[in-house]
């Protein structure tokens, strides 16, 4: 069970969205972490064969996935970032439709659809028309369709976007249930999501994989450390321009800053444990003096 991408590249008219990426996915959960525009969706769309790469290949156990055609699609589950629904189908209709469409034999379709409803907690909403679903329920229906054919490769593009905290927890548990014996690739720009779900984390920036590894490995390899510093209030702005600041807690006359830096930024700074968030910031974060329009959490 091995999904290998080699020199994978995608150019749009002006932008190179994915640039010469090499990687091998094996069974397990992979968290693709990157700011908006990093190329996550483009990469995933190529892996699902929806989008033809400009260059490079994708193979599944040594076979070219484009050549595999529908045999590849049979083992694929995909939840797009911009997931659309059939407005006048009920949730149950939808799953009963997706099952045969995904190649499940009609005799098994019903049982499979019911299992998915149960798994995603949609059983009591199964008679609802999809246009009446809330954002969270829609996404659950989306996950149900992605998993219904028991895919070997499960691609989830920003599956947690727009979920409320309890839905998010439920989703994490669902992923850990699904994690065995398949490749799960999920993208997000939310650090805490990957930390809790993904065994392997891929940091993606400007179409390239800049860092890969488990959470511990990434933290170990991160050149920056987190320092807690006490600074007078009027110096806060200067610090923000000079360093990467991951948090600011303002007190009466001074502020507690958490600064990312290789060296001790100032006397009296206290070294703290590095977190994945620090790694993310170290990788993507610009100092607030730089221009930054990315909503990085």
């Amino acid at each position: 069970m091995e999904l290998t991408i080699t020199e994978l590249t995608k150019d749009f008219r002006k932008t190179r969205a994915v640039s010469q990426v090499n990687y091998t996915f094996q069974s397990g959960v992979y968290g693709l972490l990157g700011v908006n525009g990093a190329g996550k969706t483009t990469l995933m769309r190529m892996i699902t064969t929806l989008l033809k790469p400009t260059a490079g290949t994708i193979t599944w156990d040594g076979q070219d996935v484009v050549q595999m055609d529908k045999d590849y699609r049979r083992i694929l589950g995909y939840l797009p970032q911009d997931f659309g629904i059939y407005p006048d189908f009920t949730v149950q209709d939808y799953l009963l439709y997706m099952a045969p469409l995904k190649g499940i034999r009609p005799v098994l379709a019903k049982a499979r659809a019911e299992e998915m409803l149960r798994m995603t907690g949609m059983t009591q909403h199964r008679k609802l028309k999809m246009k009446a679903l809330s954002g969270g329920m829609k996404r659950r229906a989306g996950i149900a369709q992605a998993v219904i054919n028991d895919p070997k490769i499960l691609i989830l593009d920003e599956p947690t976007a727009g979920l409320d905290p309890s839905e998010r927890i439920r989703f994490r548990n669902l992923i850990s249930e699904l994690a065995t014996d398949r490749v799960v690739l999920l993208s997000t720009h939310i650090v805490s999501d990957v930390e809790s779900m993904a065994g392997q984390i891929i940091l993606m920036k400007n179409g390239k994989f800049v860092m890969t590894g488990s959470s511990e490995e990434l933290i170990r390899n991160c050149p920056d450390r987190g320092w807690l510093c006490d600074v007078p209030k009027k110096q806060v702005n200067d610090c923000c321009l000079k360093y990467r600041v991951s948090s600011i807690k303002t007190m009466a006359d001074h502020a507690k800053l958490r600064i990312l830096s290789r060296e001790m930024p100032m006397p009296g700074a206290v070294l703290e444990e590095t977190t994945l968030e620090d790694v993310f910031l170290s990788c993507f974060g610009e100092r607030s003096g730089d221009e930054s329009d990315h909503g990085v959490v």
Partner: protein, 413 residues
């Protein structure tokens, strides 16, 4: 439920499509009443009756003239016309309000028109013809018909711009000569009205239907279900075929329901008499080169309309699949129906002939019956209808294939 079942469900649960079906029903109802109201009967003082009641009266008037239009009938008709003209006071024959004359002519109007057309070159007015025509002239009625038509066709200033070659002239004359004579005549209002009104019903129905068809493929994009759909096992194969079948089913069901209900109502109300009568026995088809009966003519109109629906339908589906949006696709039928308007502006014979092959004719056989241009296929002269039917049947198959290909290899950006 099968994949096709779900595709059908996508179509019928869509609110816009439900509204569309209601509009289609309204359209059919309106067309029926319009067609039936076309039939008129008038009493001696100019009071007109329309619709079914008029049909009943008219049928009774025409009853005695039903049969073959041979020498005996022609002589009888001429005598009857003379009788009508001689017993209707002169002052009531002229002017706008010649109700008594018009009322009395109603039963024999068709035959009177045919006589007038055949002998138009010899007499200045119809009254003069009725007065002077001799029985031996009548024996040349069918000869005179071919003669009059040939002259009309070849004469400069009439159809002059068609510039027929010798081959074509010969073909035209042969077509006219091969009409089965004597004509079978009689009451045929049901068939006349049903065929006359079908084209406009078909055109509007096709415009409405295209809104439904344009959604079959493009809705996946507007619903944003495309990404998942294309990634499924059958999304690019079996399910695309299911969509193509749904298109076929929608076209077929809607077409035959519209045409069927319309025909049943109109023929039911005006009568089915005249099915075996000669098409040319109606004066408005006097000059057509297509020799057939009213029933054959009706079947041709309806069959070629269906061919047109399939062609335009799949064209709409293909364009909507290609552009991923229904907007351009729903304009296609209207554009195709607008084209004939520009035909008058074109003076190049070649261009006229090429544009003349456009598919709007399929929906308008009554107009195509009068189409003047001829085509040469493999040295053989043929006419429009014999070309467009096979041509568009083939193109439809090609479009079905293109639709399939479009979805089979579609990329989602």
């Amino acid at each position: 439920m099968s994949l096709m079942g779900f595709e059908w469900k996508k179509v019928v649960t869509k609110r816009a499509n439900q509204i569309l079906l209601i509009l289609l029903a309204v359209l059919v109802a309106y067309s029926c009443s319009r067609a039936v109201r076309q039939v008129e009967w008038m009493d001696g003082s100019g009071n007109a009756v329309n619709g079914h009641a008029a049909a009943v009266k008219l049928r009774r008037e025409k009853e005695q003239w039903t049969g073959v239009l041979d020498q005996t009938t022609l002589e009888k008709a001429l005598a009857h016309l003379r009788e009508i003209y001689s017993t209707t006071p002169q002052d009531l024959q002229q002017g706008e309000n010649n109700w008594p004359l018009r009322s009395r002519l109603q039963g024999i109007q068709d035959i009177a028109d045919l006589l007038g057309l055949a002998f138009a070159d010899t007499y200045d007015t119809f009254e003069e013809m009725v007065e002077k025509l001799q029985p031996e002239d009548l024996s040349r009625f069918y000869e005179k018909r071919v003669e009059a038509l040939s002259v009309q066709f070849f004469e400069e200033g009439n159809w002059g711009y068609a510039n027929y070659t010798e081959n074509e002239k010969q073909y035209i004359v042969e077509q006219y000569q091969s009409a089965r004579t004597p004509f079978a005549v009689g009451y045929q209002e049901g068939w006349v009205q049903v065929t006359e009104q079908l084209p406009s019903l078909m055109k509007y129905a096709l415009i409405l239907l295209s809104f439904l068809l344009a959604g079959i493929f493009s809705d996946e994009f507007s619903w944003k279900t495309d990404a998942v759909y294309y990634n499924t096992y059958y999304g690019r194969t079996k399910s695309t075929i299911a969509k193509l079948w749904i298109g076929f089913l929608a076209i077929t069901v809607i077409y035959w329901l519209c045409v069927g209900v319309f025909s049943l109502v109109v023929l039911g109300s005006l009568g089915t008499e005249g099915a075996a009568q000669t098409l040319q026995s109606d004066a408005s088809y006097w000059s057509t080169r297509y020799n057939m009966t009213f029933l054959q003519y009706y079947l041709l109109t309806v069959g070629s309309g269906y061919c047109g629906f399939l062609f335009v339908g799949y064209l709409v589906m293909w364009i909507s699949a290609k552009t991923r949006s229904p907007i351009l696709a729903v304009l296609i039928p209207s554009l195709l129906l607008l084209i004939p308007m520009f035909l008058h502006e074109i003076y190049s014979l070649f261009l006229r002939k090429v544009i003349g092959l456009l598919p709007h004719w399929l929906l308008d056989i009554p107009q195509a019956m009068h189409y003047v241009y001829l085509y040469q296929v493999g040295g053989q002269v043929t006419s429009l209808i014999s070309i467009i039917l096979p041509l568009y049947s083939c193109l439809t198959l090609l479009l079905v294939f293109l639709c399939y290909r479009e979805y089979r290899y579609k990329q989602i950006a």
